[in-house]
């Protein structure tokens, strides 16, 4: 039996020109992961991402808790996007338990998940700005995010980790007079993010740094199985809200943003266009939401599935298609919960994007993949 050391720990015979550099796990340019980069002078020869530093065993934990008590810990992987992380699990649990959701609850869910998507993207954008040394782009999104966090706090009672979606609907109704407050703040938020174009997206310095770096072709994007903004930046028109509408997305007019370039610039611009689209969806949902009705179908104390059953549901999260596979054996706890996360799929493309790039472009290419380390490790 031979014991194989993990990559990066084993002694490697390297060319005298080529140096191995460990970026992370305690490096601001890599998040909670390590990138093992081999460089020749200033150019990257090979890159080996090494995730797994923030593994929490969410999937195993889910096997010991019932369908309701799984909610607070399953949203932990991405605390800024907690409604969207929970969405596929809740849709799957509803099918296994066999309960119906009221129309109003579906609209409330859409509003909450679109607000959450914007909150996540603003946080991502703030970090993207500081990775590129653009301090204004760190301060503005971090500040404007407060408008939406305030709305989520009004709905759910928590600023992050809302624990809001449950099988059967949502936990509480919208507060009184919410529609007016939401419309006012979302309109102002949209006006604010449109100002980012002049300072960030049309800024020649940003374009010089990100244009034609880390180009992912259309064929490669499909072959590696990337999802979400990475896929749409490479020219593939694919958005689960349009292609496989869940809840009430088929009644709403959702426009998919697609760019053809496939470089870091396109990958950084698509989430920003998605935020503008999210504002449209929130406004439509606020118009179409039924004015009254229950938001939560009453559950029996310990809900369980009917015998052997399995279900796979997926939603479009802030990063891409997020799936949840639940197997039930008729007990109170699920037999298996598997999260299929977009971050890990997008990471697969990273070694190929970085080959031949300059080391200085590494942070911008890496973060443009819309990657969240904790979600990839689960």
């Amino acid at each position: 039996m031979t014991f194989k050391l993990p990559p990066g720990l084993a002694l490697q015979k390297v060319d005298e020109r080529i140096m191995t550099l460990n970026v992370g796990p305690q490096h601001p340019g890599s998040g909670h992961m390590r990138l093992i980069v081999q460089i020749d002078g200033d150019y990257i020869v090979a890159c080996d991402p090494d995730p797994g530093y923030v593994h929490r065993g969410e999937e195993k934990m889910a096997e010991y808790r019932n369908y309701i008590l799984n909610i607070p810990h399953l949203e932990r992987p991405v605390i800024h996007d907690s409604c969207n992380v929970l969405y596929p699990y809740v849709l799957g649990a509803e099918e296994i338990i066999g309960i119906e959701v009221s129309e109003r609850a579906k609209y409330v869910r859409v509003i909450a998940s679109e607000l959450n998507r914007c909150i996540y993207i603003m946080y991502w954008l703030a970090i993207y700005g500081i990775f590129l040394g653009h301090s204004t782009m760190f301060m503005w999104p971090a500040g404007d995010r407060e408008l939406l966090i305030d709305l989520m706090e009004k709905i759910t009672g928590a600023r992050v980790t809302h624990a809001y979606f449950v099988p059967g609907g949502v936990r509480n109704d919208l507060p009184p007079n919410f529609e007016d407050v939401c419309l006012r703040q979302v309109n102002y938020f949209e006006k604010r993010i449109k100002e980012y174009a002049a300072i960030f997206y049309d800024n020649p310095i940003l374009i010089a740094r990100t244009r034609d770096t880390g180009v992912l072709s259309r064929q490669d994007a499909i072959r590696y199985g990337t999802t979400g903004s990475v896929l749409r930046a490479s020219g593939v028109d694919y958005d689960l809200r349009v292609k496989e509408p869940y809840d009430v997305y088929e009644e709403l007019d959702v426009h998919t943003n697609v760019m053809k370039e496939g470089d870091s610039y396109a990958r950084s611009k698509i989430p920003w266009l998605d935020m503008l689209e999210s504002c449209n969806i929130i406004r439509q949902a606020l118009q179409k939401i039924p004015k009254s009705g229950s938001v939560r179908t009453k559950l029996k104390p310990n809900p369980k599935g009917k015998g052997l059953d399995s279900v796979y549901k997926r939603v479009e999260s802030g990063r891409g298609s997020l799936g949840c596979y639940i197997v039930s054996d008729g007990k109170v706890e699920p037999y298996r919960v598997k999260l299929s996360v977009p971050s890990f799929r997008n990471l697969i493309a990273l070694p190929n994007l970085l080959r031949g790039e300059k080391l200085g472009n590494m942070p911008s290419v890496y973060w443009s993949l819309n990657y969240w380390p904790v979600e990839a490790d689960r």
Binding site: Y64, R65, N66, I68, L69, I71, P72, H73, T136, G143, D144, E146, L147, D150, E153, K154, I155, T156, G157, A158, T161, A163, R171, N172, D173, L174, P175, P176, R184, Q185, Y188, E195, A198, I199, F200, D202, N203, P204, I205, I207, S294, V295, R296, K298, L299
Partner: protein, 165 residues
Amino acid sequence: MGTATGIIRALNSGIKHIAMKRFTLRYPEEKLKFVGDGYQFDPSTGVGIAGLKGRHMLFHDHCTGCQLCSIACEGVAEAIAMVKVPEEQKHNKKSIMPQIDYGKCVFCGLCVDACPFYALYMTNDYELSSFSKEGLIYTPAQLQVKPYVAQDSEIQISDRGATHG
């Protein structure tokens, strides 16, 4: 668009913000206003009432010592322990009531959803810092106290930007 024009436009966009109002909450002096009196739950309809998920409040006359909140918390944070309450306090037949450790609580509010007797609610109080770990453990007598909150700042939007008015 030329490079120089683009840079001037970017600078101009930043300079315009000198005239904008400050969108920072000056925390200890100003505090955010929340909707309602904290997260509550109505067991008859099975739907919650929107509000901040802050520190709990326990109504001693409603609590029967059924331990459902403690059972709900077992799978989440294990923050709730059922403790004996002294004889002189108003208590239930079992004379046990929840004691909450805020060093462990994640403020998910599932204990409030579990209570069928309208005994456990959440309040707008979120300032729970303490110098010791023991100070974060709230006994039933401490949970009975209704917190004093002075929160009045709301987001206001004008032509010169948003502020916490």
